[in-house]
Symmetry: C2
Subunit: 318 residues, 2 copies
């Protein structure tokens, strides 16, 4: 039985709580949050975030479910080395720095931190590396969706006059078909994904102006084809309240000149619930690996898949 | 630069030779075969199989490409511990014994043997373990094909009156659809795959008798729906001379009660060329890991994907 702490109590933290409660090999020590006045529908104890440092000796592994990448970097590097940690840090561009900082802290304290655990980064990263590793002559494309992008939905909500909004990332089938045929080299961001927005505007808001703000928003929407639907807030909640996501990693190439395609595809009714499941299973592995003497910081690529199982149990899959 | 030996010179050994010649980080020490009078179209030196023992000190890793599982077990366990080895041992039922024997030999000699490297066993095994590891509540199905099964083609060729034959394993779309929806629990072998045979019969052979022999052959054909086409030998060579294969690992299940499907799919124009590519990349990793002090016997599940890369190069995929 592993004693798990959950740090942060947003969508991911709540999904981790449900996953840990359903796991036969886990017991929740507590939820640690900076927000005050929270309560758990399952009666899990909730502590102030910094209390985790005093409780470190009772915790086998902590799942870091902090909302912003900045919060995660700051808290993760301060906690690493004191407690084993897992997180789903997802800022691809800052991954290398983060791993190096976590490695230093975790190694110094003789603990293990698994970083970037989830599906992207995570399972998708693992498959990108595996596919290119075994099929060096080729191209890899990642397609996301159809699914809700929290970051893009947030960006819409910050626009003046917007009451609430949801953004779906939708991969374009023509691009998937080209990539499958090995002809996807020249595909642009615009070619690969469509951004579909459902927006509930405030009463009296200027819809033309909202639309203009969306279409011209740099990085988020400007480089893409964008579809905008204005809906009332009840419709938004009723029809777009879930958090489905998914996507595929597609590699097309040649082995000794002979064509090969390799594809990993996920379809998830709930992004946070699936991510939490992955995080919790790697949390159990993290605690076991550290008991065996493994320390430092590792990504999913550095952890053998057999570490998800005890003893030689993974042999049954071979 | 790694010095590679190739043991066995059938389809897989020949494909490994081509893959090694195309690899910038490999040099072929030689091909080792029990058959006499062989020559390589690329001028690679060919030695008697047992000469590998005398040349062990010049070899960083040996790829064992022996045709039969019995040959592989006998030779593999005698060579393990003297040279690092990789193989694509594929008798699922005997994998556990094989791993344990190889582990004992390899560990005693301070060498590393990677076993069951290819796509099934191999990449498919890795995905079966990963998918179940992160999504414990669900069912996994493996579908093979459309592709040529060497074993089933050989079984056809052994029938009295058969001159030559090719057998395609074809997954049934209805079964894939059911499995995708999480309803595949009760699928039988017959529901999942169709066996399509192209047979060139000897002159004057009794076709009815051949057909009867195929349909009633235990294990190979009896448990399946079988389609039989008699063709002349020229048609067989012209239209069925390739060795395409592929398949998919499909897991359908629930994370916190929310639906998830995970799928890995391969489509390969040439089974031996793709398998050889996988084997050669894991051969390079095997040699590097042993230099770092890793010894024993491991499956693909025990080797982190980052081992396919040097230093922190795998971080770019995260």
């Amino acid at each position: 039985m592993k004693n798990v702490a959950i740090v942060g109590y947003g969508n991911l933290g709540k999904a981790c709580e449900r996953a840990a409660l359903l796991s036969e090999d886990m017991s929740i020590v507590g939820i640690f949050s900076r927000r005050k006045g929270l309560s758990s529908p399952y009666g899990t104890s909730i502590y102030a975030q910094d209390e985790i440092f005093d409780m470190a000796k009772d915790i086998d592994v902590a799942a870091l479910c902090l909302g912003s990448a900045n919060d995660l970097v700051a808290f993760g590097t301060s906690l690493a080395g004191k407690v084993n940690t897992v997180d789903s840090f997802d800022t691809h561009a800052k991954m290398r720095d983060y791993v190096q900082n976590m490695r230093a802290s975790a190694s110094a304290g003789g603990k293990l931190s698994l970083v970037g655990i989830g599906w992207d980064p995570g399972i998708f990263s693992l498959c990108r590396a595996l596919f290119e590793g075994v099929l060096p002559d080729g191209f890899t494309h990642t397609f996301w969706g159809k699914g809700v992008s929290q970051g893009h939905s947030e960006a819409l909500r910050r626009i003046d006059g917007v009451l609430d909004a949801i953004q779906y990332t939708v991969p374009k089938q023509e691009a998937i078909d080209l990539a499958t045929k090995g002809k996807g080299e020249e595909l642009t961001e615009r070619d690969k994904h469509l951004r579909v927005c459902y927006i509930a505007a405030k009463e009296g808001a200027d819809l033309k102006k909202i639309e203009e703000s969306v279409r011209t928003m740099p990085n988020y929407f400007e480089p893409y084809d964008v579809e905008i639907h204005f809906v009332d807030v009840q419709t938004l909640k009723r029809e777009h309240g879930g958090m489905p996501h998914g996507g595929q990693v597609l590699r097309s190439g040649y082995a000794n000149g002979k064509g090969c395609t390799m594809k990993l595809e996920l379809k998830l009714d709930s992004n946070p619930d699936f991510t939490a499941g992955v995080l919790m299973r790697y949390a159990a592995a993290c605690a076991r690996l550290n008991e065996e003497g493994v320390c430092g910081a590792k990504t999913m690529l550095d952890v053998p898949v057999s570490a998800l199982y005890q003893n030689d149990a993974a042999l049954r899959f071979v």
